[in-house]
């Protein structure tokens, strides 16, 4: 755990802490300043020379200010060279770090694919069948007698879920589902084949299969949104009981993260700023509320997330079975329309977890005027980006959720800020402590403190609202699960 932010992407191949990038930028600025001083010193020396101020009696002890200023010029030149060299060394080290990260990720991906293929090849062997029977017995024993020894052992290994090495395994595994299937089907050369297929393609195929099979899992349905009446449940006189809620314009990433809805209640918050004829919108989107894969009334669930992930692949456009997009994304679009967001209005969506997936989707939509988007711990590494629309993605080192998107692809528009947030050896109460919104809020506050150029630029982008006070509306989304809709 620490306050250090690691920054990658954004059109650069270098990966480093924000402090290193800040130092490199300061050294670059110093080189410019020193260059200016060299010019001043050279001009001064010329003027001193022209005034003949070194032409005294000619003795060895005669003052020679021109020569002295030339020595200043030389000393400044050495300083400028040294600062430039040091800046170059910092950038080179960041480049090496970035290269090493990509190389290691590549190894993990290749290894994950080969391992998945090998596991798939043994899926129907006596070992595989024995393992499946054992897991089946465990499920039966749990339903009869409660948690089994295996369950207790798995629960005791909860810390593994937040191990950065395990996060890498998840990232590799997310890209390797197809290799597992190919291995099980005895397809040769699954390693090479698998590199072309990532997590989104796997998710899309999975959705197609479940829809065709009529399974109850991963089936989505229509959604509706209702504006939550201001003051509901608030005591009389409390600010929350006012008929119209207002908020000061956000000034940084911490403000944005603080306003993302969490838990039960409205999943979408929309703020309107600017003049009536020039509205600017902030859209805050909740993370996953319901963890079930079977669609229920709560649209912010894993069914919606898998649809959101599958959308990232071109293959998904070929899928004819199942819903076209996740319920959560449709709910946000409904809420935006109800709130009055017009296609050309500047918008900035901000989302946590599954809400981050939706924020990235909105950012890529050419029919919206999204000025930038923020993802807090969502798996968006495979999400298509729209040129000129920056997406700031904050992902904690120990959070497996961003890793379920697989390795994804680099993008000039996506700037990723990562940070280690857990103490080594400490036992946490929750299963995924690094994924909690409260920790992403802490990291967002650190982003505000950073002087790194790209983070500064994004913070300035938040000022697109124009400042002032905005009107807040909150929206509750519900999935229609009636039998007539086809959702179950």
């Amino acid at each position: 755990m620490g306050d250090g932010l690691t920054i990658s992407g954004g059109g650069e191949t270098a990966v480093a802490t924000d402090a290193l990038f800040v130092d490199a930028a300061r050294l670059g600025a110093a080189v410019g300043v020193i260059d200016g001083w060299v010019s001043i010193a050279a001009t001064l020396a010329s003027e001193l020379d022209a005034a003949g101020l070194d032409r005294g009696g000619g003795g060895w002890a005669d003052p020679a200010p021109t020569e002295a200023v030339r020595r200043v010029e030389q000393a400044l030149l050495r300083c400028g060279d040294a600062a430039d060299d040091l800046r170059g060394a910092l950038i080179a080290s960041a480049e090496r770090y970035g290269w090493a990260e990509r190389w290691i990720d590549g190894l993990w991906k290749a290894g994950g694919g080969l391992l998945a293929g090998a596991v798939g090849a043994h899926l129907f062997s006596p070992h595989g069948v024995g393992l499946a029977v054992g897991l089946g017995v465990n499920v039966a024993a749990r339903s009869l007698f409660g948690p089994t020894p295996l369950d207790r052992w798995v629960a005791s290994q909860r810390g593994l879920l937040s191990d950065p090495a395990f996060v890498r395994v998840v990232r590799a595994a997310a890209d390797s589902f197809d290799e597992l299937v190919a291995g099980a089907r005895g397809v040769p050369g699954y390693g090479a084949f698998g590199r072309l297929v990532g997590a989104p393609e796997s998710a899309s195929v999975l959705l197609g299969f479940t829809a065709l099979l009529g399974a109850k899992v991963l089936v989505d349905g229509p959604v509706s949104v209702t504006r939550v009446t201001p003051g509901d449940g608030a005591p009389a006189g409390h600010p929350a009981a006012a008929p119209i809620r207002t908020a000061d314009a956000p000034t940084g990433l911490a403000d944005l993260a603080d306003r993302v809805p969490s838990g039960e209640g409205p999943q979408i918050r929309i703020e309107r700023y600017g003049q009536p004829d020039d509205p600017r919108w902030m859209v805050y989107i909740s993370g996953t509320v319901e963890t079930s894969l079977v669609a229920g009334e709560q649209p912010f669930d894993h069914s919606s997330n898998v649809f959101g992930l599958a959308d990232d692949s071109w293959i998904d456009e070929l899928r004819t079975a199942g819903a076209e997009s996740g319920a959560g994304e449709r709910a946000v679009r409904h809420a935006m329309a109800e709130a009055g967001v017009a296609p050309g209005d500047p918008v900035m969506p901000v989302g946590h977890s599954g809400g981050g997936i939706i924020a990235a989707k909105l950012a890529a939509d050419t029919e919206l005027n999204v000025v930038g988007a923020v993802n807090l711990g969502g798996p968006i590494v495979s999400a298509p980006m729209r040129e000129g629309v920056p997406v700031l993605s904050i992902e904690h080192d120990e959070d497996i959720v961003p890793a379920v998107g697989g390795s994804g692809h680099p993008s000039d528009e996506r700037l990723t800020v990562s940070r280690s947030v857990l103490d080594v050896g400490r036992v946490y109460e929750t299963a995924l402590p690094a994924h909690e919104l409260v920790r992403y809020r802490e990291t967002a506050a650190l982003v505000d403190d950073s002087e790194e150029d790209r983070l500064l630029a994004f913070r300035e982008l938040v000022g697109f609202t124009g400042g002032g006070t905005g009107v807040v509306t909150e929206w509750k989304a519900i999935r229609d699960v009636s039998s007539s809709t086809g959702a179950r």
Binding site: A19, A51, P63, A75, L86
Partner: protein, 110 residues
């Protein structure tokens, strides 16, 4: 300054005049302003070694930052030396000019 010195100075182009002195004083002001700017800017110009990383590379980085700070110290010292040199030149020019002022009436009266 005796007459022979004055003749040698004239022949070597080292004649002290009020204009040359004024030019020297003006350049002295420019040098002072330049030195002030450098002195005020240098402390915040480059990052300070904060020990944020713990590695051989980080140690080397801190060393190089220290080297850079040393070079800045050299710049400050060189600027100080230049100022001293120019001050001394101006002092001597003033002395020469004063001496000339004393000689001029004698030449004028023959």
């Amino acid at each position: 300054m005796d007459d022979i010195d004055r003749f040698l100075a004239l022949s070597a182009g080292r004649t002290v005049t009020a204009d040359r002195l004024a030019a020297a004083v003006r350049l002295r002001g420019s040098l002072r302003a330049f030195r002030d700017e450098v002195e005020q800017t240098l402390p915040a110009l480059v990052p300070r070694a904060a020990g944020r990383w713990r590695s051989i590379a980080a140690d080397r980085y801190i060393e190089r930052l220290d080297e850079l700070q040393s070079q800045f110290t050299e710049v400050n010292a060189a600027l100080g030396a230049a100022e001293v040199q120019l001050d001394e030149r101006i002092r001597r020019m003033r002395a020469d000019l004063d001496a000339l002022d004393e000689v001029e009436p004698r030449w004028a009266t023959g």
